[in-house]
Symmetry: C2
Subunit: 358 residues, 2 copies
């Protein structure tokens, strides 16, 4: 299958930046839901070194069904996030199968019994990691794609005193109703498989995982990414094989992990941050960090109009839409021109040109 079909769904290829995975455990981690994880494990990696004045830390939270290896398109020589300059902290989302997840938590919180997680829970655990383990007291930036961008927003809302900049690439400040309905479609497709058994499956619900995957294929790329004559030279058997191929990609992943992350996604709303009045416009207006919003004009997950709406309410904002026909995946490294644009915008955020002397 073509690489461009996979890119938005996690780091299925080895990472070019080859970070070493580390683990940070928090005992008795109380979740926003009221449940407690006896051990909340945040899997993470770092690149580069914290400088003397502790001013170069950048957090990159992982996106849906991905892990800490998902940001290679922004990291390294010739890209903006150069480990020689920045201390990069790459975190794994709870329930992604590497940090604490349904698949790796022991009874009685395993599988479908794994408690509901919010992005605020994730950000609080990441903050603990930075504070107690990594000695980070200022965050130069939080940079994230998709659910990573949602975490960037949450960082700015939860820690206004700490975060200087955020870059939200194809993300949003709240999962709006349309997005909830879209996610619900994928959730229902997976759960339709009789083998799912309320999450207590004994064999993987493969049909459901395949239905989940093809659901994502339709949404992840914009119509313009599919050439109108793409299937013209395929016979019926070849077309069928191609469509079958589109159902691959999630079958190796754990169903409960995917569902738990989807529920986290559905619950995202920075206006529910303690102290906020549950009015998204008001919460956006309280953000102190400089905000770089990079929606993609053809994104079917996070419509451009939502970013335009959010930008209107943020004090210090740059709205820089990505021009691409690759839909959501354009923000995840799937379009070389878009990747270059994102790197350039990110550089301007992190290293603004000096103001001209009068």
């Amino acid at each position: 299958m073509a690489t461009w079909l996979l890119v938005a769904y996690g780091s299925l290829a080895p990472s070019a930046t080859a970070q070493e995975l580390r683990f940070f455990d928090i005992r008795d981690f109380r979740l926003e839901s009221g449940s407690t994880l006896p051990v909340a494990r945040v899997a993470y990696a770092t690149l580069g070194t914290l400088n003397a004045d502790r001013s170069n830390a950048i957090v990159l939270p992982s996106h849906y069904a991905a892990d800490h290896k998902g940001y290679d398109y922004l990291i390294g020589d010739g890209k903006t996030l150069d480990p020689k300059r920045y201390f990069l902290i790459l975190t794994n989302l709870f329930a992604n199968g590497v940090s604490s997840s349904p698949s790796n938590t022991t009874r009685p919180l395993d599988g479908p019994r794994f408690p509901a997680i919010t992005l605020r829970d994730n950000v609080r655990a990441q903050h603990e990691l930075l504070r107690t383990k990594l000695g980070v007291t200022r965050v130069k930036a939080v940079v994230g794609f998709s659910m990573g961008g949602q975490q960037a927003y949450q960082w700015a809302a939860s820690h206004p005193e700490l975060v200087e900049n955020i870059a939200v690439i194809c993300g949003n400040a709240k999962q709006y109703p349309f997005g909830v309905v879209r996610l619900q479609g994928s959730i229902a497709a997976l759960k339709a498989d009789g083998e799912f058994r309320g999450g207590n499956y004994t064999v993987a619900p493969t049909r459901g995982l395949r239905a989940f995957a093809i659901h994502y294929r339709g949404w992840a790329l914009a119509p313009g990414a599919w050439p109108r004559d793409q299937f013209d030279r395929l016979g019926p058997a070849e077309l069928s094989q191609f469509l079958d191929g589109l159902e691959e990609g999630f079958t190796s992943l754990d169903a409960n992990n995917l569902l738990s992350q989807a529920e986290t996604w559905k619950r995202h709303d920075i206006s529910h941050t303690p102290g906020q009045a549950r009015r998204i416009e008001q919460t956006l207006a309280t953000l102190k960090a400089k905000v770089l919003l990079m929606p993609c004009e053809s994104d079917q997950y996070f419509p451009l109009a939502d970013a335009e709406f959010e930008a209107k309410h943020i004090r210090a904002v740059t709205l820089a839409p990505i021009k691409s026909v690759m839909g959501h995946t354009a923000g995840g490294g799937n379009d070389p021109t878009a990747t270059q644009f994102i790197n350039t915008q990110l550089r301007t955020l992190l290293e603004p040109p000096p103001a001209p002397t009068p």
Copy 2:
């Protein structure tokens, strides 16, 4: 549930125009696939009367999961398709459960054994009905929404000598790859249900049908149709109930019927009409009918760009995009302003103002 959530999925309410259903049977109907239906039944209704010079017949082919009652928003007093003026022929798509379908065909062609059907098969059967039963020798217009619009295009391609006008509302001349992938998502969601058993279900695959329904909910309406604060005043239980409600709507329908119609949809391509060279641009250029294209600017099934592409290749075309945030459903009567626009455009097509005398 709100009516606007249902409108695109067939006529779940009684028809305001209350047509009497009739049946037209064709013996030994050979399909494009090579299979033969011993009896191909076209269920249809008519409104109005064929005039003396047989110049007022208008065909309205049903759309996906709908039936002959799906065009009330265009028919009657104050609307363009007035039965006092026109002879309206409302046809049911094969596999919709009323015309010949998996659910009503006897062994050995019942259920999953029902043969693959193309829109050309449908149009050929409709043509037989008009020719041999209704005495229609000229077609003033074929007017259709969604798969109905696809049939309008196919009528123009199959019977260039017969069809004077077509109006394609949120439809296309070919199911382009993006649309195939989207349909495949719904198909996989339904089939994920273990109860489906390759179409040989003994109880309805309800989980699959519900997953199919919520898949459609996400696509049928554009993001702008979902107010950003729509869920803000719902508690978790209410939200869950709302989302459950979105899974209703297809559970009373037959799974094999839905899948058969989806396969028909996937196969749509007027450039495969006998005599055509399987190049969509060329086939569009051969159309003789006047074509009114009414895509909706926010349609996620049939993107505006595809209609713009098609319009470029048609000789006599009016491209009149519908302005609406209601997505695909705007073309199906779900947006009063759009409905008025469609009626007006249709009137201009059917009753063009006289050319000014010099």
